[in-house]
Symmetry: C2
Subunit: 401 residues, 2 copies
């Protein structure tokens, strides 16, 4: 049985924690599992390195930035291998590059193009525990690239897919996926299992356990994921293909995403191509637009609203302020958040949205934007009502039961 | 003009220091120099990483240890390149591996076998400042190797040789080579120039400015070295081939090496091959033996003395205690130091040794071992007299004048 385990920053947050991870890895090895262990940087390390670069410039050279921050995972991988070897287990540490992770050239947010598993296979065939530095790879030129924040999950899933691993366990300081953030709603319940699609919506909407791209990739590659805690022996939450018994549940979770800023373009000329121009200019700057709302207009004019992550807000604002043709005016709102309700059961149940809107009205919360998909309803509301909305929705959908 | 500059740990000991190094590099670039900058880890970083490994085992897996500690230089190289680029200068950071430094397979103390200068040349041809992580390379297998403590000097010299650089400047917190350690003798004087051979003796004997292997390599490759301070604009000390005007000076410097421990094998059977057996067994364990003294014996027995670095003492002690055939007994002495007098002038001047011995006698310092070469006289004495001996010798050879 081949298992890929990934340990996040808090799981390897200190030497004692790395020791504890080593012992957990050894328990799995003693069960005769073949193991690839993917590690993040020790918590705080990446921020420290980023802070170093920030000292010189707010816009560091991306190639060198990648070389800089990738050292954090290199340190953890080396240390975990040293710990395992010192306990009498054969292990080998590899950088992402050594593990064969080939990415595109998009420094600081590279995409994995392929994995040459030769080195890892050879080590596994020799019964070694392979310890891989997460979050990183190399482009075709051999330059170190990084995969963006949370990229270690992606490394783990991609490796699990490439090696056709039986399962991929993602360890963090959270013991699974909850119906909502327990810090907001103490009655949040842990889910035993959840579908990729639900997890995708939960992940992209702010549940910080698993990164969206990782779940997407897991779905694409058919990698069974376990979200587990490295601080307990809880069995965690299994993320896999939708199964029949899931349909009994209408709503699986509600999530709050505070990393939202809203831009509304008023009086946009309602002609073909204008939306394309706007979003192409944003995409060219690498700004990931989240919600987009456009209504049918009157008099050939329409209002176009969209949201961006808060750290892209200033850039988006500047771009839009210079995008002056065919627009009457622009509104910006930094003080918004997104509340979402997720559940595969919505596919076969009606009235889920109505229940949410009714509850918001009862609480006097104004809904600024609404967007729905097959298994998700999202609402943009004023920032200050975010937590309240989550607690109210959690209750109305009986998630605490 | 192609210049290789190397900045040691204290020169890049903090973000402000890296900023200051960037400005120094830029001054050289503005003088139209082609530049390769080799950097050490920020001071304290390597020790921190070594301490991490020590937490798990006193004998970490060497391959992983190299992967671990090499990250320190990777961080500095990235940061310096980021600083230079942010100031509008084109720069590129390279790991030792990317700079083409191929080493043997001897992890933690690898030797440079060759340098493929393709990447560096290409960058220099594009007028980029090349910033290389010192102390490291990669073996033929592509695994990261490190060159041992002080290995960044070696990186710099090897690169200067491979690129046929005009000069190689070694920056530290010391502004050149002194007649002795100024912390021991305040009247120590800075030398304007010194020969490779003298520097070799001074370096191997404990002057911490330049690593022995680096000077050897510089001599072999004919690389002109400048030992300079990154904290001042002093012109430093030039280290080059012996020149005629140097001969006027008999003694260039006196040095104290406290990193010595003495082993004496008593009653060693005076037959061919026994010394070979002893020193092969030490070499097999990677123990670098420094002084070796053997006298003509009587009754087919002789005493054989040698010194090792203090951190190899325990290993050497254990080895010798198990090396029981043909030996009557063993003495160990940890509390010794080595005092050496260095000068190319000894070649043509007699009486230098006699002066030293006379002075030691006057100070009631017992000389335990003596070893001489063409340009050096070394004495092993009790540890507690080290500083006194240095001060007395500095005076007697008029080094303070």
């Amino acid at each position: 049985m081949l298992v890929v385990q990934k340990y996040g920053g808090t799981s390897v947050g200190g030497l004692d924690r790395i020791e504890s991870v080593a012992n957990r890895v050894i328990r799995a090895k003693d069960e005769n599992k073949d193991l690839v262990i993917v590690v993040s940087a020790m918590s705080g390390e990446t921020n420290k390195l980023v802070g170093y670069a920030d000292n010189f410039t707010s816009n560091p050279s991306k190639r060198e930035y990648d070389m800089l921050v990738s050292s954090g995972e290199q340190v953890t991988a080396s240390l975990l291998a040293i710990a395992l070897i010192s306990k009498g287990y054969d292990a080998i540490a590899m950088s992402g590059k050594e593990a064969g992770i080939l990415t595109d050239n998009n420094h600081t947010y590279a995409r994995i193009e392929s994995i040459d598993t030769t080195n890892m296979r050879k080590a596994l065939d020799n019964n070694k525990i392979v310890v891989v530095a997460g979050f990183q790879g190399a482009n075709a030129n051999g330059d170190i690239t990084t995969l963006g924040r949370g990229g270690s999950d992606l490394s783990a899933v991609a490796i699990a897919g490439a090696l056709k691993a039986d399962i991929c366990e993602i360890y963090s300081d959270v013991d699974g996926i909850y119906t909502t953030d327990p810090r907001i709603e103490p009655h949040a319940k842990k889910l035993d299992s959840i579908s990729y699609d639900e997890m995708l919506e939960l992940s992209s909407l702010g549940a910080k356990v698993l990164q969206n791209r990782s779940v997407e990739l897991a779905k694409k590659l058919g990698v069974k994921l376990y979200a587990k805690s490295s601080f307990s022996d809880d069995k965690g939450t299994l993320i896999q293909e939708e199964s029949n018994n899931m349909e009994a549940v209408v709503v699986s979770g509600v999530v709050l995403d505070k990393n939202q800023a809203r831009v509304t373009l008023r009086g946009v000329s309602d002609r073909p191509g204008i939306a394309s121009e706007i979003f192409t200019s944003l995409a060219d700057e690498g700004i990931v637009v989240d919600m987009i709302i456009q209504n049918v207009g009157t008099d050939g004019l329409t209002n176009l609203g969209f949201t961006v992550p808060q750290n892209d807000f200033e850039k988006a604002k500047e771009l839009m302020e210079h995008f002056d043709h065919d627009i009457e005016g622009i509104d910006f709102d930094f003080d918004v958040c997104k509340v979402s309700i997720v559940g595969v059961g919505m596919r076969s149940h009606s009235g889920v949205a109505a229940t949410a809107f009714t509850q918001m009205a009862k609480d006097n919360i104004n809904i600024e934007m609404i967007s729905t998909s097959e298994i998700k309803i999202s609402m943009i509301i004023n920032d200050k009502y975010g937590e309240l909305a989550i607690r109210e929705l959690h209750k109305i959908y009986n998630l605490d039961k």
